[in-house]
């Protein structure tokens, strides 16, 4: 009885699948899938090697500070970094006095309430504050950016397939529109206000090229601020911003693995010892 019902149900599923299969195959035959502009012109991220890569990776604090400077002087005009507090900058090598100064001199102030009148007001940033967003809200951000919303960068290095190399490729990947794209995909050309970038999934990104000329940011440590260098540094900084505990994770992981390898050897020995007289 159970078997008859099961077979009947199974037969129905198989018939339904056959109908679906017929639909899929005839669909492919009558309307073969055509490659889209993104299929043909989208590029995989360029190679980028950072000090934090790999199981032994550690942050290059000099580079993180340079990247923070790029963020501060370029990115932070439009992008927020909500999850990072000024106090967290200790992790990239600033001391308490420097952090206090950075917070105090930050261009955007913290919203607060006037203690006397209760009116909305602003005050200087403190080390305990999170980095304030450049716009009061999403509507203001869109209004200032051609109706595009600059995403928060705190988790950018983890929130996109490709991570840091993706960020680096976007920043350095602006190109003239290929002739073949213009010819074959006139519908996929950037609309007004969008910019061609083959590393962006849809090829058309709202952000214009931001790192344009060498020396746009003046590095304190004497590193030559080429466009490539600035893009690499800010990508490294965003890896830190997304995963500030990366170094302690690697160190703890290394210790754990050593401990467990020793544990496995001892457990193996105990196992062999218990079973030594028994065929199994």
């Amino acid at each position: 009885m159970v078997r008859t019902i099961a077979n009947a149900v199974g037969a129905l599923f198989v018939l339904s699948l056959l109908a679906a299969l017929w639909g899929s195959i005839s669909g492919v035959i009558s309307d073969p899938p055509k490659p889209t502009a993104a299929d043909l012109f989208h590029k995989e991220p360029k190679a980028l090697h950072l000090a934090s890569d790999g199981p032994f990776g550690k942050f290059d604090q000099q580079q993180l500070q340079r990247g923070f400077q790029v963020f501060k002087e370029v990115c932070s005009n439009c992008h927020s970094l909500k999850l990072v507090a000024f106090r967290d900058l200790k992790g990239i090598g600033y001391d308490d006095a420097q952090i206090k100064a950075i917070a105090d001199q930050w261009a955007v102030e913290q919203p607060t309430t006037n203690p006397d009148t209760g009116e909305p007001a602003t005050r200087k940033n403190l080390p305990s504050d999170h980095i304030p967003p450049p716009f009061a809200n999403d509507i203001a951000a869109r209004a200032a950016n051609n109706n595009a919303l600059p995403p928060d960068l705190s988790l950018m290095a983890k929130a996109r397939e490709g991570g840091a190399p993706y960020i680096y490729s976007i920043l350095t990947g602006y190109e003239p529109i290929p002739v073949a794209l213009k010819k074959n995909f006139p519908d996929s050309l950037p609309l007004p206000g969008l910019h061609y970038n083959p590393y962006f999934p849809s090829l058309n990104i709202a952000m214009a090229q931001q790192l344009t000329t060498e020396g746009q940011v003046q590095y304190q440590d004497g590193t030559r601020p080429t466009v490539d260098q600035m893009a690499e540094d800010v990508s490294a900084f965003l890896v830190w911003a997304a995963e500030p505990k990366l170094e302690s994770r690697h160190v703890a992981g290394f210790a754990t693995v050593i401990f467990l390898v020793i544990f496995c050897f001892l457990a193996w020995g105990a196992y062999q010892n218990v079973w030594r007289d028994l065929e199994h």
Partner: protein, 432 residues
């Protein structure tokens, strides 16, 4: 408990004697996972995975309870509270990555445990109840994992909740109302997040309770073994402790090593980048993909693309997906062959591996974009999945000629030892 020669618990210390008289809990533990549980002597490493699944559940509960102390189940702050755990809670990143990776490890271990049961016929009489309870645990795990994935309230959380609760809207007439009732609204929102959190906290303890029943049911006939042959006498078994506690200790070490490598060096490898974007009801991700452990079932769901017999494609897909798991409840009766282990069932063995390959193909399709190519491959693989259980298994369980079974576990063990020993002078005389 299960065999007359099982060792009896004999408390030596007066305190233990006193406890044993009042509440024989130490005796229960001794009879369950101590010297009082005789286990076949020939279990291989595939038998480690039951204990490992228990360990994985314990890790999930311990890390989860601490995470819940810092997490806020409110749609406005849930995402940021997870990042607060990652950045500001002491060792919070460890707890969260351990919990997220731990879910994947739990599923890996349980899948291997299930495949072991299928290969060695552990679902067959007299262990049907063990198998049925195991399928219940698997279903509870899937529900728990799904609700846990919603909690960080990222893009995949939100849209995953949207898709999975959408299954219920396929039910005719009342489906949409059921979906709204489950979500507590028209779309996933604060009400959904709160109830998912509540249930995500509850279900692991339900799983633990069903595991107790699972082990209880197991201890009545005792463990199966790689030959599938019944235990005939005392020489076939060893006490669980110290023999299998020692072996499981080693297995646990290897499991934790693999776990640690993923946790510390590739914690986001098994996740999805989109879940680091806060949930946004106005922006649908390009691809909505569930966690890897749901991929085979997701592929079955997506394979049904045609309305057929006045039933819409979506309802076919949902019914097929649920049936693909519920089918497992009937397995002990679908496969009527009296021989348990695939070692002695050459035809079943071959089809088992084809089925395993089929599951991997389904998983690969389920994790890939819904392009016609993957859908068509998924349709063949889904058809084969059902054919395996509903056509192939019933036929081979009747027509197959099994290889001769050993007379006892001990005979099989000694024959293997004899084959392995170097032949020549000084060969020990086989104990036959």
């Amino acid at each position: 408990m299960s065999f007359p020669w099982a060792q009896q618990y004999q408390p030596k210390h007066p305190l233990m004697r006193w406890i044993d008289e009042k509440l024989p809990l130490p005796r229960l533990v001794y009879n369950s996972v101590g010297g009082g549980y005789p286990v076949p002597r020939n279990l291989n490493y595939w038998w480690n995975f039951g204990v490992l699944a228990g360990a994985a559940l314990a890790i999930q509960i311990i890390t989860g309870v601490v995470l819940a102390m810092h997490y806020a189940a409110n749609a406005g702050v849930a995402f940021d509270s997870v990042e607060h755990i990652m950045r500001d809670v002491n060792a919070g990143w460890f707890l969260r990555y351990a919990h997220a990776t731990g879910a994947s490890m739990f599923f890996i271990v349980v899948y291997i445990h299930i495949f072991r049961g299928l290969y060695y016929g552990s679902y067959k009489a007299p262990r049907e109840m063990v198998w049925l309870l195991g399928v219940v645990i698997f279903l509870l795990m899937m529900a728990t994992a799904f609700m846990g994935y919603v909690l960080p309230w990222g893009q995949m959380s939100f849209w995953g909740a949207q898709v999975i609760t959408g299954f219920f809207s396929a039910i005719p007439v009342v489906g949409e109302n059921i979906r709204i009732w489950l979500l507590g609204g028209y779309a996933p929102g604060d009400a959904s997040l709160n109830r998912f959190f509540s249930l995500h906290y509850l279900l692991p303890f339900v799983i633990a309770a069903v595991i107790i029943l699972h082990i209880w049911a197991l201890h009545i006939p005792g463990s199966n073994n790689p030959t599938g042959v019944d235990v005939k006498g005392e020489q076939d078994t060893v006490p669980f402790h110290p023999y299998y506690t020692a072996k499981d200790g080693f297995g646990l070490g290897v499991f934790l090593l693999v776990f640690a490598v993923i946790l510390f060096f590739a914690p986001n490898y098994l996740g999805h980048a989109d879940n680091y974007i806060p949930a946004n009801p106005l922006s649908t991700p390009a691809e909505i993909v569930p966690e890897w452990y749901f991929w085979p079932f997701y592929a079955i769901l997506r394979a049904f693309t045609a309305n057929f017999l006045w039933i819409p494609a979506k309802l076919w897909g949902v019914m097929a997906m649920f049936s693909s798991i519920l089918l497992l409840f009937f397995l002990p009766w679908i496969d009527s062959s009296p021989v348990r282990s695939a070692r002695y069932r050459p035809t079943y063995r071959m089809f088992f591996f084809i089925w395993l390959l089929d599951i991997l193909v389904l998983g690969w399709c389920g994790g890939s974009p819904a392009t016609p190519g993957y859908i068509i491959v998924g349709q063949f693989a889904a058809a084969y999945y059902f054919a395996h259980f509903l056509i192939i298994l019933p036929i081979i369980s009747r027509s197959e000629r099994p290889r001769p079974l050993p007379n006892s576990i001990t005979e099989a063990v000694l024959a293997k030892a004899h084959d392995r020993a170097p032949h020549g002078a000084g060969d020990p005389v086989p104990a036959e």
